[in-house]
């Protein structure tokens, strides 16, 4: 009985698919096929991040911004370099991050400061 229903439903699903109407751009719309295929290959091996993995994903964004500001590839930023390089947050918190008063901060210094100041809002 259910087998028969399934067959008839598949037929009706196919019938619906053949009614070609000009669908408008939806929002959010379907990404380009190449991006969909790449994402499907990923999702077989990746799950949505939580906890420490999500923290790591969040940190990746901040590290990328740090490295973008570090145009000289010193591995450290001065207050001025941070400001000029688009990481004004580091410039604003510079003295608190630069606990050794070196005049330059590394990304590890930034992470240490963030961990010290985590609130209940953290992603842990």
């Amino acid at each position: 009985m259910r087998t028969v229903l399934i067959v008839s439903t598949i037929v009706s699903l196919l019938a619906a698919a053949t009614v070609a109407r000009a669908t408008p751009h939806l929002d959010p719309g379907k990404p380009p096929a190449s991006a969909q295929q790449a994402a499907q290959a990923e999702t077989r091996t990746r799950r949505a991040s939580v906890g420490a993995t999500l923290d790591s994903d969040a940190e990746r964004h901040l590290r990328a911004s740090f490295e973008a500001a570090d145009t000289a590839h010193h591995g450290t930023l001065s207050r001025e370099e941070a400001q000029a390089g688009g990481f004004g947050w580091i410039a604003n918190h510079f003295d608190a991050i630069d606990t050794q008063h070196m005049g330059r901060v590394s990304f590890d210094d930034v992470k240490r400061y963030l961990n010290l100041h985590r609130s209940g809002a953290s992603t842990k």
């Binding site: 259910r2 399934i6 008839s8 439903t9 598949i10 009706s12 699903l13 619906a16 009614v19 109407r21 000009a22 669908t23 408008p24 751009h25 939806l26 929002d27 959010p28 719309g29 379907k30 990404p31 380009p32 096929a33 991006a35 969909q36 790449a38 994402a39 499907q40 290959a41 990923e42 999702t43 990746r46 949505a48 991040s49 939580v50 906890g51 999500l54 994903d57 969040a58 990746r60 964004h61 901040l62 911004s65 400001q83 000029a84 390089g85 688009g86 990481f87 004004g88 947050w89 410039a91 604003n92 963030l114 100041h117 985590r118 609130s119 209940g120 809002a121 953290s122 992603t123 842990k124």
Partner: protein
């Protein structure tokens, strides 16, 4: 109304009464104010991928009106035109079109300013601008589809102008916003590039208008809820604090939404099940419905997580029939026939909306809107959009010149082709997951607060998927969620818009204060 998180702490009233008093003392405009400045912008703006503006023009039109809310007249100024986004070296990136509604006489440091973004990508910010919380709005009457064109354009008693100044922003390659040479619109058609240029626009708008001390809010809808978390992280990174983020009808993770990709779903559709139940209940097809929608949705949400999700994952692996009792539960929750569940157990929105009622198409954006197959309203296979879009498109063509005083030979483009060539890659993934962006923004600024709003009958960004996605941040995250009867443009529902307004006022009060 459903609230799944503790109420935001510290319901501190901002100085709204002081703002209103200052406004009232200025003497309200009436739309015919003598210092209004109309403007004809001779530029030809193009939303094509390769388009590139040679000569940006920042001259604006300025008009004055007043809106009476709760017996108090709020005089406000509407400013329409372009502002150039500048990169770190002060080079021009794009000429961004915006319409700003600012209350007259308010103290800048105490007065929030909110930037609104629709999505697509490729959609202009026409829906939020003309339909939601601006001082005037279009009357649509949805979910009914009987409102004749043109949609009336009325004073909006649910406007947020009593709480915040409101800036409606068109992303590059939408509306009238165009990249500036040597850049092309395509330069900014990607998750990261788009958020970057909008960061630069927001920073410049605040600087030019003397608002760098104002509490800052960002409001996204649909793809705008992907855009705004990235933008929030970029602003916080740049050292500009964001007080609050409002996410309406959210897609936080393109990898978790089972219907955003082409073809049959490859991930669980559990996040959609409560929305299917809400729509089935609306049509009196859900035998399990009790008449208390909130209670019913709580039941379905639990079933979706505990039973349907593992069932769907198993079905994706082997396509084996599920137990009759599980199918019967889904039929009772939604009204969708058993045979449809048997054929496509992991239920995408297209299968659902084409098979809930025979020979009838339901809206993607609002499942309460229906049309007989083959009818005029079904011409685009999306009756809620087919009903609403012509009214919005017609309105922007008269509101810009007639009401806002901004005239251009160019065509305001509601929807461009940006999505066809959009670079969706982000954070090392082919499709964006912006929950880590919110996590990063919160680590930089633990006082940031986030409000999620949405419609229970929205089938494209279902509310429970939002709950599942944001739960990844942990139960302590400063997040509130409220969902109401309605579709994707939830504010079009005349019953839900006032509820959302009240929630927004409370949210702004909790998020606007000193840190």
């Amino acid at each position: 109304m459903l609230t799944f998180q503790p109420a935001l702490r510290g319901a501190r009233r901002i100085a709204a009464s002081a703002v209103l008093a200052a406004v009232a003392s200025c003497g309200g405009g009436d739309g015919g104010s003598t210092d209004s400045t109309r403007y004809v912008d001779a530029n030809h703006y193009s939303m094509a991928a390769g388009a590139s503006l040679a000569t940006p023009n920042e001259t604006t039109s300025v008009t004055h009106r007043a809106l009476t809310l709760g017996g108090t007249a709020i005089a406000y100024t509407a400013t329409a035109g372009h502002l150039t986004a500048l990169d770190a070296s002060q080079a021009a990136e794009a000429s961004i079109f915006y319409v700003a509604y600012t209350a007259d006489g308010a103290a800048a440091a105490a007065r929030p300013v909110t930037f609104f973004f629709n999505g697509g990508p490729g959609s202009a910010t026409i829906w939020l601008h003309l339909g939601s919380f601006a001082p005037r709005r279009l009357v649509t009457g949805v979910p009914a589809t009987t409102q004749a064109l043109p949609f009336p354009y009325v004073d909006n008693v649910d406007s947020l102008i009593d709480t915040s100044d409101l800036v409606f922003v068109d992303a590059v390659g939408t509306g009238l916003s165009e990249a500036i040479a040597p850049h092309t619109n395509q330069t900014y058609w990607g998750v990261d590039a788009d958020a970057g240029v909008l960061r630069d626009f927001v920073q410049r708008w605040l600087a030019v208008n003397g608002r760098t001390a104002s509490p800052l809010f960002l409001f996204g809808e649909s793809y705008g809820t992907t855009r705004v978390p990235v933008l929030t992280r970029l602003l916080e990174t740049a050292g500009r604090r964001v007080n609050g983020v409002v996410e309406l009808s959210s897609i936080l993770d393109y990898n978790s939404n089972c219907s955003v990709a082409s073809g049959a779903p490859t991930v669980s559709c559990a996040g959609f099940l409560p929305s299917y139940a809400a729509v089935g209940s609306y049509y009196d097809l859900a035998s399990a419905a009790t008449g208390n929608l909130d209670a019913d949705l709580a039941t379905v949400r639990s079933y979706a997580d505990a039973t349907y999700d593992p069932d769907a994952i198993a079905w994706l692996g082997n396509h084996a029939l599920l137990p009759d009792s599980h199918i019967a539960a889904l039929v009772a929750f939604t009204g969708l026939p058993a045979a449809v569940w048997d054929a496509q157990f992991d239920m995408d929105f297209d299968t659902f909306r084409h098979h809930l009622i025979a020979n009838t198409t339901l809206g993607v954006y609002d499942g309460r809107v229906s049309a007989p197959v083959g009818s005029a309203l079904d011409a685009q296979d999306e009756p809620s959009n087919t009903f609403a879009e012509p009214g919005f498109e017609a309105a922007i063509r008269t509101v810009l010149p007639n009401d806002l005083g901004f005239t251009t030979p160019s065509t305001y483009v509601l929807s461009s082709d940006a999505i066809d060539t959009w670079d969706f890659s982000h954070g090392g993934r082919a499709l964006p997951d912006v929950v880590p962006d919110l996590g990063a923004a919160l680590s930089l600024d633990p006082s940031l607060k986030i409000l999620f709003l949405g419609g229970e009958h929205d089938l494209i960004t279902p509310f429970h998927q939002t709950e599942l996605d944001i739960a990844r941040l942990g139960s302590a995250a400063p997040v509130a969620l409220h969902f109401h009867p309605g579709g994707h443009m939830t504010y079009l529902d005349d019953g839900s818009r006032p509820l959302m307004k009240a929630e927004l006022v409370a949210f702004y009060a909790s998020a606007s204060g000193a840190r």
